[in-house]
Point group: C2
Chain length 210, copies 2
Amino acid sequence: MRPLPRSRLQAQKATLPGTVPEGTRRRILEEALRLFASQGFHGTSIRDVAKKLELQPSALYAHFSSKEHILAELVQVGHEAHQEALRAALRDAGTEPAAQVRALVRAHTVMHAAHPQLAVVVNEEIHALPPELSAPAMALRDQSVALLTEVIRRGVEQGRFSPPHEAATGAAISAMGTRLPYWYEPSGALDLDTLANIHAELALRMLGAR
Amino acid sequence: MRPLPRSRLQAQKATLPGTVPEGTRRRILEEALRLFASQGFHGTSIRDVAKKLELQPSALYAHFSSKEHILAELVQVGHEAHQEALRAALRDAGTEPAAQVRALVRAHTVMHAAHPQLAVVVNEEIHALPPELSAPAMALRDQSVALLTEVIRRGVEQGRFSPPHEAATGAAISAMGTRLPYWYEPSGALDLDTLANIHAELALRMLGAR
DNA sequence: GTCTATATAGGGATAGAC
DNA sequence: GTCTATCCCTATATAGAC
């Protein structure tokens, strides 16, 4: 339950959602993901990435035009996979606000627990990008936030939810997932499906669902 | 409610808890805090800090033996102030678990909202330190975590709390505060005292307090 | 698409004068 | 305690051969 110093999430293999095609380009993304999550974007050099892949630094430039573009792609892929997971969850959740919250929270939690490095890089290193490169991901983020706030708003309107404050409660619900990479260990005693259910339950408690 | 790219928390003045004496050393810490929060530790150079202070880079070395030692002091000061705030809150909270949770959560929230840059640097940049330099702060962190988990455990023992899972609920409660710097704006419509009460209420809901 | 070699810039930190 | 000057290293990125 404590983040380790200097070696933040140096985990096993850095998993990338399946949408990225195989090949050297993917290998670069995976290795960069691992290193960015562990040492941060500015703490990782092109040489570090190249060395791990047993390539010369210049070889990376055949696949990405700059170090920033590698980060930008990771950030974009992460936001896309996250939003797709939320939308898929909503599609199967019916129309009850409580069921929709449960589905959104479960998907949010599973995403952050299954791809902890990607979650960390997306959330902490996006700031290292110039606005042009981060804008598409920021737009996706706004949409994803809206998915939850909209469900909360509808639940309140229907008299099903009674949170002490809609925005603050929404932020608290999101925060449970966002902080997961800093303490949750998938190989530990608490399995992911159980954790996802716990988070859904906590969200509904915060909302005063009835 | 969205973190801005490239300029993470470039806020006004970076506030440091009052325990640090005035003088050039403090000015260095404050400016480094602002820059580390905005650009990250690795994204900030000694030259950046010196330029903002209208000093030559070499002048900083009369006050700190390395760039890492500047970060280490910020991290230590942040952890000390946080823990002291939690302990002070507990001292005035009586013996009821619910009142103790309320006091801890309120203090945690106020600390993160009042010192957002320090919170971000403490949580995100501690990983940039070698273990020798981060160890004292990590020890404090473990103690602070224990303050909350201990209160939760007692509340459960006494039959006052019924969380779905003690550790996960404790993490969810902490996460509300930890994520504050990324969305809360002190100058906005939601004042800090109200927010602290909201977080306390959410914590007690999660715990099923009765 | 990968290599060798290198251009060009900026990094942390120190020496020694005042 | 701050300055000027500088050492030495590493960074990103490019040129051109294969």
